[in-house]
Symmetry: C2
Subunit: 297 residues, 2 copies
C-alpha cells in the first residue's frame, strides 16, 4: 500500500484479528494509530496505546470501531480484550464534525449518536467494494468446511447454490472451477442468464424443489426461510446443508434434525479463515477514503 | 456401476475405509464378496464373513489385499481389524493359476509368491487410470491443508508447485482455477509448454531458486531432495512448505526447522480426505479387469 496517510491519526478501538492486519496497513500508509482494547505493543513505530477512550480520540481524523460496533447500551465489542469499554455521547462529542467513524454494521444507537454529532458514519460491510471481496474468504471457508464434512471430493460432486448475490456468485464460480457439478437456484432471469454464461446449470427458483434430491451438498446464501420442512423432505439423508445466510440462516434447522439431515449454519467466515486477507479488505476503503479527504484538504 | 460380475466371487482381505466403498461397488456389480479382517456385517446380501484366510479364499476368482499389501514377513496390513492375519505360500497355493491378486503396491515377498504360483498380480497404485484419478483427492486434501494453515485466501496468494507429474498437474490446475498466482517448476520443455498452455507461470528447474522467495506456499511433488538447505535459505519465514512427495518427501525438514520455516510432509491423502471417492477409484479397474476376464471365458 502507498504511504498516503502522512499526518493523519486514526483511533482503532477493539476489534478482532483482522484489525491487527488493518493497523499494519494503516502504519504502512504512514498514518499514526491510537489503539485501545487490542493486544498491540507500543514498540511499533507510529502506534500509541491508550487505556481509555477519551485519550485515544484526541486529535484523530477517524475512528475505527469493531466490526460489530457498539450495542444498544454503547458497549464496544472488543473480542481481544478483557477490559470492557463503553462509548458515550459525551466521549463521542469531542470529535470534530465530519470525522469518519468506521464500523462493520451500525446499531441504531450508533446511527443516532453519529447523526446527532454530524460525524461521517461508514458501515464497511455494506460497501460493495468490501462485500464483493469478502465473498472470497467466505466462499473458501465454506468450501473448506464442505471438504471436512464430505467423504467425496468437491471435484465431480453434485452441489447446489441457493441464491446468486455476492456470496452466491463467488461460491458458485469457485465450486464450478474446482470441478463440482454446480447448479444455481435464482429468481431473476438476468441471474439465470449469468449462471448459464458461467457454464453452470441455472435452476429457476420455482423449480428448486425438483433438484434438491440430487445434491451432495446444498449451500444456502438466501437470507430467508427457503429450506422449509417441505423442501427438506426432498433432500437425501446423505446430503449436507451448509447455510451461509446471516443468522438465523434460511434453513428450518429443527425440521432438518427431525428428518436426520445434517445442516450447519456457518459463523461469519472471513475473519476466521483468512484474517490477513480480511484485514486487508477492510483497510482498502478506509485508506482510500482518508487519503481522498486528506488530498482534498 | 453396471452389474457385470454375476457369478464372480472376490475375496477382500483387510484394508481401510476405502475398501468398505469398494465392497459396496463389487456388490452393486453383483459379485459375491468374501471378507476377512474388516468390520462388515454379513447381513449385506452377497457378503460372507470369514475369520480365517483359508476359508475366505475358497472358490474365488480374485483376491484383493490391502493397499499396503503384505510386509516382508507376510503380515497383512489390516488397519480396521484388531486381529492379525499372515499370508503364507501354503494358503496362497490353493488359488488356481491366473487368479487376480490386487494390492496397492507389492512387497518383494508378494511379488515372489505370486510369480512362483503364476497368479496375476495387479498393483493398483501403479496403474495410470488409478494414479491420475487419485491425484484429485490428493490435490483437494493438500489445498484443504493449505487453507487451514494460511492466514490468507488461496485466491490471490502466490504459490509454487514443484514438479509436474500426475499430482503436480492436477494440483497446479486446481490452484490456478481457485485464483492463486501459480508457478510450476519443471524440467522438461514439454511440461513447461503445458504449464504455459494452462495459463500458469512456468519456471525452469534451473531457475527454481530465484522464485522461492515470493511464495506464500510451496507444494513439493518431486520425490527427490529438491528443497535442500541451500534452497530453503531463499524461502521467506512466512512461507509454508507442504510436501506431498512419498515418504521421506523432497524437503530437508531438519534444515527447515533450523531456519524457522514451517514444513509439513503429508500422509497419503485420498483415503483420508475422500474415502468414498478413493474407494470408487480403486473399484473401477478391478471391476473392469474382472468383467473383461468373465466376458472372455
Amino acid at each position: 500500500m502507498q504511504p498516503k496517510l502522512k499526518g493523519v491519526t486514526v483511533a482503532v478501538i477493539g476489534g478482532d484479528a483482522r484489525y491487527l492486519v488493518l493497523i499494519d496497513e494503516l502504519i504502512a500508509s504512514e498514518a499514526r494509530v491510537n489503539v485501545v482494547g487490542m493486544p498491540v505493543t507500543s514498540s511499533v513505530k507510529g502506534v500509541t496505546l491508550y487505556d481509555n477512550l477519551e485519550g485515544c480520540l484526541v486529535g484523530v481524523q477517524a475512528v475505527i470501531l469493531p466490526i460489530l460496533g457498539i450495542d444498544e447500551k454503547g458497549l464496544l465489542h472488543c473480542v481481544l480484550s478483557e477490559q470492557k469499554y463503553t462509548m458515550t455521547e459525551e466521549i463521542m462529542s469531542q470529535l470534530p464534525k465530519g470525522t469518519f467513524v468506521f464500523t462493520g454494521l451500525a446499531s441504531f444507537l450508533l446511527k443516532q449518536m453519529t447523526s446527532r454529532m454530524e460525524l461521517r458514519l461508514i458501515e464497511l460491510m455494506s460497501l460493495d467494494e468490501v462485500a464483493i471481496l469478502n465473498a472470497i474468504p467466505s466462499a473458501e471457508g465454506v468450501v473448506q468446511m464442505a471438504m471436512e464434512l464430505l467423504p467425496v471430493t468437491i471435484h465431480g460432486s453434485s452441489v447446489i447454490v441457493l441464491g446468486f448475490g455476492r456470496t452466491g456468485k463467488t461460491l458458485a464460480r469457485l465450486l464450478g472451477a474446482m470441478g463440482a457439478k454446480t447448479k444455481v437456484v435464482a429468481r431473476k432471469p438476468a441471474d439465470l442468464a449469468r449462471v448459464t454464461e458461467m457454464n453452470l446449470v441455472p435452476v429457476a427458483f420455482n423449480n428448486m424443489l425438483d433438484c434438491l434430491g440430487e445434491a451432495e451438498v446444498i449451500f444456502n446464501t438466501i437470507p430467508a426461510r427457503v429450506l422449509t420442512e417441505e423442501a427438506l423432505c426432498r433432500v437425501s439423508h446423505d446430503t449436507i446443508i451448509i447455510d451461509l445466510a446471516s443468522d438465523p440462516g434460511g434453513t428450518d434447522f429443527q425440521a432438518a434434525e427431525r428428518l436426520g439431515i445434517k445442516a450447519v449454519l456457518t459463523p461469519s467466515l472471513p475473519g476466521r479463515v483468512a484474517p490477513k486477507t480480511a484485514g486487508r479488505i477492510l483497510a482498502q476503503p478506509i485508506v482510500r477514503l482518508l487519503s481522498e479527504k486528506t488530498a482534498s484538504n
